[in-house]
Symmetry: C2
Subunit: 465 residues, 2 copies
């Protein structure tokens, strides 16, 4: 592997080639720069076996990429333990098959770990197991093509996100998971306690209950790092956070999880929704195109029909909330005080030709206290939702109320005085957004159920492993 | 900003220059490629003011880098609200001062947010506030040089870690925070519950208590993603996870937090401690050197004496546990059954000339059930701790027991049958390690107290914001 770094060139001498530690080659590297004629060692799992008279052909995957490497094994080198699912160490010479395909002609095959399907291995060769089936075997499902492809894409998307923000001078901020801010009832939250009774007893203070014994106040799992980001933004400029977020809702839909990854960015000196929309649109197009470049074969493994959506070269649509209401009304679908429901979100995207739609300028009563009142209409806030095919909303964002007095009048609790105080000293206008990684992956990979976009999904009554 | 991407060149056309959204330049970009004579707009905070007869000199920081940009302001352009801590929008022309320093000669200065120190702003110009003081103002301390420098370094280290693993073909895996695995009593854990009583009532089932009403079993915050990583490793090869981890210990030392970031990697087909040590040493040296290249000015802001440690070009020392015991015994410091304490760790590092020390081959009884029994001595396991100056242990790791029967005999609970089953089908030898990000930052930045290495530290009785 070449080290693809953008740092000073002297670093290349420091980075030892990890193959020194490995003493074998990963298949992604072999396929990237095939050296036909080279003696090569690979390690991986048997995905497929085809037996001929004197030869056995095996497709080996080591998880490093979507593609398998074909191994040609003389029959005298094989044993009965060389089966589908077994792990192997193969040495041989890289060659081209008569059809021009790269293959490894083995001169040594060692089975490292056997796999007897009849002993309870839940997967079968040449079988596409439906996601609902593999989801029952969370500890083994990364051995299937479908799950391993999604996990590689998830890893790549994560890397693209870090690359994008680094290139654009954002600072990555690790906002906390544990917080004394319960989101003011805006979302359902989990609370935490030490599990050990001894610890609870040792830390108990008069007037404190079990919920506040450890930290001195009731403590929750974060539902958003936004307020913390806003604090750091007012010293460091553009910032983002990317990590786990929690909802204690009793919701089992194909779009909800109890634990999910959220990307949140806060843009310093952001004064208009237009600037915020530009930043979101830019990020999304970047991630989609970069991932198609790096993981085309994985996308194909998941969905042979998966094509780059037409909208990556188009401008996203912008509708005001009032315009969206009128469009839906004409289609006989009235909005309630709850806002736009999932079906209506998807209707709006379809109405706009399948291109993502920003819905902007929302009624103030529907949105959070920190959103900035629109200058032209005090019943509205400068908020946005971005709607896409498959999932509907994937991004929510707003300009933040930067007027000290207006914010003070809307502050839901004294415990947020620190948040108000951010506006008192060297205040700046900011805006920001939150993007759900799993929903983005649903759109990118055309995956119907959100539970298949992450390795260990958690939802009500399900927290295996 | 040039987009420093390693992807296909056609991406450069897709990435719009974010300055389009910003309509101003970040100082890091201005300093990277100074265009003397150019009309330039910047936005940031006043860090310093020097008044002369007809001119005012202001140092402006926007948080994008350690360096400030000097602004030269004709007196007629300034107002009383231009004070230390205020936020400003400055337009002007980039010039060189008589001394050759880059400066912005202002033709427009707008104060965006005032800052009246006497109104309660806790920081003063030209003052180095001690970390214990700024820690009282978590929401404002990113406005200080010290904290902002550490946060930029933390962000850079995070990026270097992602770059390193991507370049070496590891897949990033988001292991879960919520888990039904309580780590078998190995560490003190937090448990979670929904906070909302209505949710609890609606989800209550017969025979379930409050702790298990939501997920169907008692659920904890993770203390390690290792077991989950091992599952994914057996389908995808080399994997890593990097995120928040929790300990419900009642510990208030300068080295402990209740929430901290841990990097954990699992190496497929890893058969020797030597391979594992090589991978750890390589990563650490890479991160140290890369960070010194990208954040030299930040390191200097924190500690003017900060020098690259001599060990980045040396091989790390390896001692067996027995050798370490003998060395300490000669120094009159006997080991107990608890292992090596903090003071002893630091003594060992000093004994080895300040170079990081791997202590390997630990007594089996001191270590976890999943660690691999040493082939040459069944009373030992193939485990390692890496000790460094300042913090002592920063990395712990081991080869994993890959023998099905041996692991079965040591398995602490039937609930881990899934973990045992990983060894049943296509098993491979693996090894892995966990690295504490905050301790790494302490070593890198020479920071005594771990609470100053992250934006929002959580420790007993402290979970502000």
């Amino acid at each position: 592997m070449l080290y693809r770094s953008c740092f000073h060139s002297n670093l290349k001498n420091i980075i030892r080639n990890n193959e020194v530690f490995r003493k074998y080659s990963v298949i992604a590297a072999v396929l990237e720069k095939p050296n036909v004629g080279n003696v090569t060692e690979i390690k991986g799992w048997v995905k497929n076996l085809r037996k001929q008279k004197d030869l056995i052909f095996a497709d080996i995957s080591d998880g490093s990429c979507a593609k398998k490497l074909q191994i040609v094994i003389p029959k005298n080198l094989t044993t009965d333990s060389l089966t589908y699912g077994s792990s192997v160490h193969v040495t041989g010479k890289l060659s081209k098959s008569p059809r021009g395909q790269l293959e490894l002609v083995a001169d040594g095959v060692k089975v490292l770990g056997t796999c007897v399907v009849l002993d309870g291995f839940p997967f079968n060769p040449r079988t596409i197991h439906p996601p609902e089936y593999t989801r029952q075997y969370l500890h083994l499902r990364s051995r299937t093509n479908y799950t391993s492809a999604i996990l590689r894409i998830r890893s790549a998307v994560t890397k693209h996100i870090y690359d994008y923000f680094a290139a654009n001078n954002y600072t990555n901020v690790h906002t906390p998971i544990l917080t004394s801010n319960d989101c003011e009832g805006a979302g359902e939250v989990f609370k935490i306690q030490p599990d050990n009774e001894e610890t609870v007893k040792a830390m108990m203070q008069e007037g404190k209950d079990r919920d506040s014994v450890y930290f001195g106040s009731k403590t929750f799992l974060t539902v958003s790092g936004q307020l913390h980001l806003e604090a750091v933004c007012r010293g460091m400029g553009n910032v983002y956070t990317f990590g786990p977020t929690f909802r204690a809702e009793n919701s089992r839909s194909r779009l909800h999880l109890s634990e999910f990854y959220m990307l949140e960015a806060e843009l310093a000196f952001c004064e208009t929704l237009d600037q915020l929309q530009g930043a979101i649109e830019d990020l999304l197009k970047y991630v989609f195109i970069a991932t198609r470049n790096t993981n085309e074969a994985d996308l194909f493994l998941i969905d042979k029909e998966n094509k780059a959506p037409s909208w990556v070269t188009k401008e996203f649509v912008t509708l005001t909330y009032d315009e969206a209401r009128q469009i839906l009304q004409k289609k006989g679908s009235a909005l309630t005080d709850e806002g736009i429901n999932k079906e209506q979100e998807l209707t709006l995207v379809e109405h706009c030709g399948g291109v993502p739609v920003f819905v902007v300028k929302w009624p103030k009563d529907m949105k959070s206290f920190y959103m900035k009142e629109s200058t032209e209409d005090s019943t509205k806030v400068d908020a946005l939702d971005l709607l896409t095919p498959i999932t509907g909303e994937v991004v929510g964002g707003s300009l933040r109320e930067d007027n000290y007095e207006k914010l003070k009048s809307k502050l839901p609790s004294e415990r947020l005085n620190w948040y108000l105080e951010l506006r008192k000293f060297g205040n700046i206008p900011t805006g920001g957004y939150g993007l759900g990684l799993e929903r983005l992956l649903q759109v990118l990979c055309n995956v119907n159920n959100i539970k298949d976009t992450l390795p260990f999904p958690r939802w009500p009554h399900n927290c295996d492993m």
